[in-house]
């Protein structure tokens, strides 16, 4: 049906043959570049990673487009839990700042701070690790031989705002991921208007074994802070091929810069079907 809409637009634009001209947007052309810090932390990760880069002003020339000229390799990256502070070290291969998770354990309920300094300019971020929420039930029902409907449910923690993301895979041999579980508009859920209740999400997946043998499906429930939720929910909405969609602001919680410093908990469970 999208095709139909584009046919509409194409016809009308053909009828009204337009003309184009390059213009100079003065105000926007002079915009400055920002330090971009991106780091996700979780008690379930063995390593803490952070990427530091420059943003690109939209207008003008970007040299070495394919060479990632944006990455900053000489930043000072400090992570702290309020009492202990550790420095993340730049890893040339990964082009990331890293440290083993044991250096600063990420714990449920803990608040963490990141501070990044580049050329005398410092930007900061802060996040708090939410509770781990287990999957309560995962109900699978076959649509036909090759597709399966999934309903996943979990119990919300009362008296706090919680944010969730659901997903997973259908599995092939050796629990190799075969196909994504598609939750579409139900991938992101918050407990607004259903605090403390059982929350469920419906999705579907393609099965690996299509001839009646047992299938394995892995369900994942991520419980996250608001920063994570806003960023990835909006990333999902980000659609560059729809000329009429409202601009998406991914949301940044880096003070003085751009990017994301967010915390989440990762819960997974495998069911046979």
């Amino acid at each position: 049906m999208k095709k139909t809409i584009y046919i509409f637009l194409a016809i009308s634009l053909l009828v009204l043959a337009g003309c184009e001209e390059v213009v100079e947007p003065d105000k926007i052309k002079d915009s400055k570049r920002f330090i971009v810090v991106t780091s996700l932390i979780s008690p379930q990760s063995s390593e803490i990673l952070a990427e530091v880069s420059w943003s690109r002003p939209v207008f003008g020339i970007v040299p070495d487009y394919y060479e990632n000229p944006d990455i900053i390799d000489n930043a000072q990256v400090q992570l702290s839990d309020g009492t202990t502070s550790v420095s993340l070290i730049y890893n040339e291969d990964k082009r990331l700042y890293t440290i083993d998770a044991s250096a600063l354990p990420i714990v449920t309920g803990g608040t963490y701070f990141i501070e990044v300094t580049v050329e005398n300019q410092t930007v900061r971020g802060e996040c708090t690790v939410p509770d781990l929420i287990p999957i309560k039930e995962m109900y699978l029902s076959s649509k036909n031989g090759w597709e399966v409907d999934i309903t996943m449910s979990w119990e919300d923690n009362p008296d706090q705002t919680n944010y969730y993301r659901v997903g997973g895979y259908s599995l092939a041999e050796n629990d190799r991921s075969y196909s994504n579980l598609y939750f579409n508009s139900e991938e992101f859920k918050s407990d607004v208007n259903r605090d403390g209740m059982v929350i469920s999400a419906k999705g579907e997946a393609y099965l690996y074994n299509q001839h009646g043998e047992t299938n394995r499906v892995k369900g994942v429930l991520i419980s996250s802070d608001k920063n994570y939720y806003d960023y990835f929910k909006n990333q999902n909405l980000y659609s560059s091929d729809d000329p009429f969609s409202e601009p998406v602001i991914l949301g940044s919680n880096i003070e003085g810069g751009l990017g994301l410093f967010a915390a989440y908990q990762f819960y997974e469970e495998i069911r046979e079907f």
Binding site: G18, S53, V58, S245, E246, P247, V248, L258, E268
Partner: protein
């Protein structure tokens, strides 16, 4: 509901009692018609110069004036018609119907004009605009298609959106906040071809009025404006008609008596023919076509002087078609509007006039796809729309010359179909989804147009509106006040206040009037929108010069206005299966809006040279908790300066020249200022940092486009033929071919390892000439 009826009955009783109040007073009442056609004339001024008292005819040409016994002389005057003065020695009630002759331009001398002019300064009403239907026919039009809404855009306080679009932006409000009514029926989508043309070309219309503030209490349901259009009744004396042939469409209007002076009809239609003309040039195996048509029809019957029946309707459709014979694929999409109004006028006595209306209105958008491939077949049909049934009772009561009272009650049942989908294919079970949501919107109103102390005119009114959706119901009082104090005979100061509520909302984020725009109801989660507006102004008539001058300042605050959330898209049709679950309420957010500004208008409505100069200085700001980080931002069509100069010159009986120049501050667009690297998180609990850049917007609507201006010119050549008058019209749209921006996009050029982004402006209408032929008989 029962209470509402009680109020009406009560008011009726008061009226009948009022009749016998003073025995030394008598009432002159009757109807004012157009000479030659029998068309009833609304808005005619009936004035007693000695007593400085007067009334105007209502929408159906009825008037009533109660005066003390004795000698009186009354002046019947209306713009474009010859004034008639009539004298009476009142000893009993008088019923007097009168026909006014349309005045011809040649007769116009300064003295005559002075008589004809109704004084703007005298009206209690402010913030209204009237466009003579004649100027709609005489002004240059885009592609030769006359367009009522585009002429309204030339008035101060009314702005156009993007290039070529017919949508009206009134005092900072969007097209969704305009109440567009045609013969009492709400028109939901007033546009053809993505808004480049409106449904109304003026051929079938008798009058067009626009209210942008100080709303009389008989109107409600929208925040920003009321565009009231009434169709002609149809000539009661003789068969008349006209046809026009233009570049993209042709039209025909016929009107005439069925039974002379008792009943008449009017039919007016228009259809485009790009589809027919392009057919020979298309591949017979793969064809696409587009057309639209309009059809207005009206019938009226006069049973007696006191009882009249009107039946009128509008039907219009836009349709796209694609037929691919090779793949046995065909696709149809389009939208249609239909309205039907049945009205019965009854004059209860010489002071009370009543009208009962039954109204139906419908808007529907549809897509149909069919595909056949050997033994497989696929059929899809999607539709969305709104359907209304209304019942209205309206009364005009003229107890004394100082009071003209209107009151009434109305109720509407809205049926919304946000999306209905039917899919049939060879493999799966047929899918049939779609819910209809009903809601009820009702109101009672009372208003009194008072002329007090000879110098003070007040229109005070009250409207009580009610809306019910499921178990949720809203009830809102809406006080209205508009007043004029005459500082001198031709100079007044005016003020007004109005509160408005809007219970149904238009979901539209394209801003260009796409047919996919969807009307939805207020619900328990989405509250009705409301606004309060105050305005203060001056009006001055220069009678000798035949000029009206007005200056107004306004301030409007709106609450609970809706907007799409960031990232929301109108292409909900993207995945037909998702529409079943799509909650539009999740896609919208409520906020506040502020509009304020000043408007200046000098207008010459009558004479050889007519036209106006308008200027608007305005600001429109919005604030939504969930948009732009909760900060205030300027609206997309926030326009600091907006000016227009419009002139029509009747050089001779044979030549009419006209031109319109418009200027407007550029629209606001949201452009990213930076892009940056993003992160992805997988369900295997790994993150990867992607060089795929995402846009960073410092704030919403941060880029102001270049200013918009253009001039349109036209010349009409008339010639009297044996059977009528033929007119050739040649016009130029955007005569100096200004490259006005339609939209902007970012264009990237790659060379080697280097990338350069440039902002590119797209212009769609350079200079566009057009020619039309018209014949009136």
């Amino acid at each position: 509901m029962r209470n509402h009826f009680l109020i009406v009955v009560l008011l009726l009783l008061i009226n009948t009692n009022a009749k016998g109040q003073s025995s030394s007073s008598f009432t002159i009442s009757g109807y004012v018609k157009e000479h030659g056609s029998g068309e009833l004339l609304p808005g005619v001024s009936i004035y007693h110069p000695l007593l400085q008292k007067g009334v105007t005819t209502n929408s159906y040409g009825f008037y009533s004036l109660t005066l003390p016994s004795g000698k009186h002389s009354l002046r019947f005057s209306f713009v474009g018609y010859e004034t008639v003065v009539k004298e009476w020695d009142l000893i009993k009630d008088v019923e007097f119907d009168i026909s006014l002759k349309p005045s011809t331009t040649e007769l116009t001398s300064v003295e005559v004009v002075a008589e004809k002019l109704e004084k703007k300064s005298e009206e209690s009403q402010m913030s209204t605009l009237e466009v003579p239907i004649r100027s709609i026919q005489e002004l240059p039009a885009f592609m030769g298609e006359k367009d009522v809404l585009k002429v309204l855009q030339l008035m101060p306080g009314v702005q156009s959106g993007s290039e070529g679009n017919s949508g009206l932006y009134v005092r900072g409000g969007g097209p969704d906040q305009n109440l567009v009514i045609l013969d009492d029926a709400i028109v939901y989508n007033a546009y053809h071809l993505f808004g480049f043309f409106s449904l109304f070309n003026g051929d079938a219309l008798k009058s067009v009025e626009l209210y942008k503030g100080g709303f009389p209490s008989r109107f409600g349901g929208r925040l920003s404006s009321v565009v009231k259009m009434d169709m002609k009744d149809g000539n009661k004396e003789e068969l008349k008609g006209k046809y026009g042939i233009g570049l993209i469409s042709s039209n025909l209007t016929l009107e005439g008596p069925i039974k002379k002076e008792k009943s008449s009809f009017l039919v007016s239609g228009r259809r485009t023919y790009i589809d027919v003309l392009s057919l020979p040039f298309q591949d017979p195996e793969y064809r696409t076509a587009y057309y639209f048509y309009d059809l207005n029809a009206k019938f009226n019957q006069e049973f007696s002087n006191r009882d009249k029946l009107y039946v009128s309707g509008y039907f219009g459709k836009d349709k796209f078609k694609t037929i691919d014979k090779e793949y046995d694929y065909n696709n149809r999409a389009g939208w249609d509007n239909a309205t039907a109004t049945v009205r019965w006028n009854h004059q209860f006595n010489n002071k009370l006039f009543g009208n009962t209306s039954i109204v139906f209105s419908k808007y529907n958008f549809f897509i149909r796809e069919e595909e056949k491939d050997d033994d497989e077949s696929f059929e899809l049909s999607y539709s969305s729309g709104i359907k209304d049934f209304s019942l209205k009772f309206d009364f005009d009561f003229f107890p004394r010359p100082e009071h003209s009272i209107k009151y009434g009650i109305s109720t509407t049942r809205h049926s919304f179909t946000p999306s209905a989908l039917v899919i049939k294919d060879s493999y799966t079970e047929p899918l049939n989804s779609g819910n209809v949501y009903n809601s009820f919107e009702s109101a009672v109103y009372l208003e009194d147009d008072m002329r007090l102390l000879n110098r003070l005119n007040i229109n005070a009114g009250f409207r009580l509106s009610h809306f019910a959706y499921g178990k949720k119901s809203y009830i809102n009082p809406e006080p209205r006040l508009s007043m004029a104090y005459m500082l001198k005979d031709d100079f007044s100061v005016k003020a007004s206040y109005s509160k408005m509520n809007q219970y149904i909302h238009l979901l539209s984020n394209s801003g260009i009037g796409l047919p996919t725009d969807l009307w939805v109801s207020s619900t328990d989660r989405v509250k009705p929108q409301s606004s309060q507006q105050v305005a203060l102004g001056f009006a001055k008539d220069y009678i000798e010069k035949n000029l009206t001058f007005s200056l107004e300042g306004y301030y409007k605050k709106s609450e609970d206005v809706i907007n799409y959330k960031e990232g929301a898209s109108f292409l909900v049709l993207d995945n037909p299966f998702s529409t079943q679950e799509l909650r539009w309420e999740d896609n919208v957010t409520s906020g506040e809006a502020w509009s304020y500004g000043a408007e200046f208008l000098v207008q010459r409505k009558y004479g050889k040279f007519t036209g106006w100069i308008g200027y608007t200085l305005s600001w429109t700001q919005l604030q939504f908790e969930e948009l732009n980080n909760g900060n205030k931002f300027f609206a997309r069509y926030d326009r600091r300066h907006d000016a227009s100069v419009v002139g029509i010159y009747q050089m001779s009986e044979k030549v009419t020249l006209s031109g319109a120049w418009v200027y407007g501050t550029g629209n606001n667009f949201t452009l990213p200022t930076n892009t940056y690297r993003s992160v992805y998180h997988t369900f295997e609990n790994t993150h990867y940092f992607s060089s795929e850049q995402v846009d960073y917007y410092e704030e919403k609507n941060n880029f102001r486009a270049e200013s918009y201006h253009r001039i349109d010119l036209s010349i009409q050549l008339h010639k009297k033929k044996e059977k009528g008058i033929r007119t050739w019209e040649f016009s130029l749209y955007n005569a100096y071919s200004r490259k006005n921006p339609f939209f902007y996009y970012i264009y990237s050029t790659y060379s080697g390892n280097q990338i350069e982004n440039k902002l590119t402006k797209v212009t769609i209408f350079p200079i566009l000439p057009s020619v039309t032929y018209k014949f009136e008989f």
